[in-house]
Amino acid sequence: MSSTIVSLPDQSTARIPKTNFITKENGILSWLLTGDHKRIAILYLISITFFFFIGGALAGLIRLELLTPQSDLMATDTYNKVFTMHGVVMIFLFLVPSVPATLGNFLIPIMIGAKDLALPKVNLLSWYLYIIGGILVLYTMISGGVDTGWTFTTPLSTHYVNTNVLSTGLAVFIAGFSSIFTGLNFIVTIHKMRAPGMTWFRMPLFVWAHYAASILMVLGTPVLAIAIVLVALERTIGIGVFDPTKGGDPLLFQHLFWFYSHPAVYIMILPGMGVISEVISTFSRKRVFGYTAVAFSSVAIAVFGFFVWEHHMFIMGVSSYSMLVFSLLTMLVAVPSAIKIFNWTFTLYKGSITFETPMLYAFGFMGLFTIGGLTGVFLGTSGTDIHLTETYFIVAHFHFVMVGGMLMAFLSGIHFWWPKITGRMYPEKISQLAALVTFIGFNFTFFPQFILGVLGMPRRYAAYPPEFQILNVFSTAGATILGVGYLLPILYLTWSLKYGEIAGNNPWQATGLEWQIQSPPLTENFIELPVMDHDAYDYEWLERQKEKEVTSVG
């Protein structure tokens, strides 16, 4: 019995299907004016990869600067600009659109048996908005940067810095609308475009997760938009909504900002959770343990996610009574994540597990996200939050969730669906190595930061007391390994575009509708409108399907 589920067609005869969404039309304009969700997904994939490497380079600069206690590599204001740009690029231009705009865009219509998203033009518009936001961020970077931190804290951002707050604000505003339109498109598509028989509880959990994340995008992002508009108005004409000298309350900005930016964390992580559900099910050949619980936990996270934002402000002088409410709700929102982790774990139980790269990344996700989630409880608990907030503990926590969680899930998903998107396999051995390197590098980079945080090292410090150096050196050393871990995939994935093995329709023997069609898919996805007559993750159905094929061919 082999230890892999990969079943590829005979390489000597197999060919990439002649007509597919990539070869359908040629020329740059056929890409830039496309309405095809798959092509837009590719456009997104290229652009977010570009911004990921910009953000990553900035992260490298940060880690280099922190190698020594003094601010010697760059001046403090340069450092401030670097971490601000790192935050803005990574959050608004990478993490928020990462899985939804690439994998979600590509897969949601196929998974629910539709030909395209409900609003293809809006989908393209949202990519253009993203690009405009990205260009504005690049412009900011070139024309002197911005040093407010990605949180735009007033009155610092309105009155006390003279860097490019406006262009950054505009960039975030526009990128925000890109994300609103993506979310809106997903919700409409999931509601209105499902194939016959594709009931809510037959949808893959990937779709459920995106549905939950889309709700957050649609309802949360506009509040960020108005907060940014008010900051811009305050900076330009000097209105007094957040300005304490005019009677405004700077805490109100925090309320509005975190009303979006806390749910934004779930916007980032929920699609990743969707990926993990698919991957774990496929590589253990088993239906996800407690499908309904996992589906509803996504929705629960989305709903509760709106009621916990004040835990970012516990020490900022909010009322203690409202702290109690928000802290309690924070504890409640931690539970659905715990449910998910245990349900994934028990999906493995009595499965038939193989360890291809997507599964390795998924294992990485489970470990790191568990740590990230549990340390989140430290911060949601009001007492310990006092000591740990605004230190490297926070930095480590959200990097465990965002990088350890989301990025692992993203890479897992990219590897998992790479054969579907390109029609070719990635090289297995080196990608397993990359997964391992990423995991090790990640822990080296961010685990020391927990200890630094407990010791009290504040975040956003260009210089720090010398006794923190050893841990910072560890962290920077880890970041180098992590950097290699991220460079490897882009190299071998690009290589595989030409030299990878032909994947065939369903290399993983997975059950989703996307695996029943050719890879890369046709522009219309399906030749015949599919009729869903089985549940998601029904591996017995898949077996029957294969037998049928064999008998019909025989």
Binding site: P196, I215, S319
Partner: protein, 108 residues
């Protein structure tokens, strides 16, 4: 497993055309509402002034939503959407105010 789900299908939903009479009635109700708001603001009703102003505005908005925007004749999904919007709107206002109102209760 659940075949009834698969078959579940709404009948061909007739696109409801609202008669202009309804529009005219609503239009005049809105005008009356506007007059009522202005009138009420000139009466000293203490704390009830803003309450009445908001109440009238809510009534007017409801009329617009139900008739001009056809929600009365729309699917449950549309109503659910409107409801979700109001819910989140109230969450934003209510939860933010929970901080502002209770700040006065204690010295912290």
């Amino acid at each position: 497993m659940s075949e009834q789900h698969a078959v579940e299908q709404q009948g061909h939903k007739e696109h409801h055309i609202v008669s202009p009479v309804v529009y005219v009635v609503i239009f005049f109700s809105l005008l009356v509402g506007t007059a009522a708001t202005i009138g009420a603001s000139y009466l000293d009703l203490g704390v009830w002034n803003p309450v009445i102003a908001i109440a009238i505005a809510v009534c007017k908005a409801t009329l617009v939503v139900l008739f001009f925007m056809h929600v009365r004749y729309s699917s449950r999904l549309t109503m659910l959407t409107v409801g979700a919007g109001l819910f989140t709107f109230m969450a934003l206002i209510g939860m933010t105010l929970s901080d502002y109102i209770s700040r006065a209760w204690g010295r912290w």
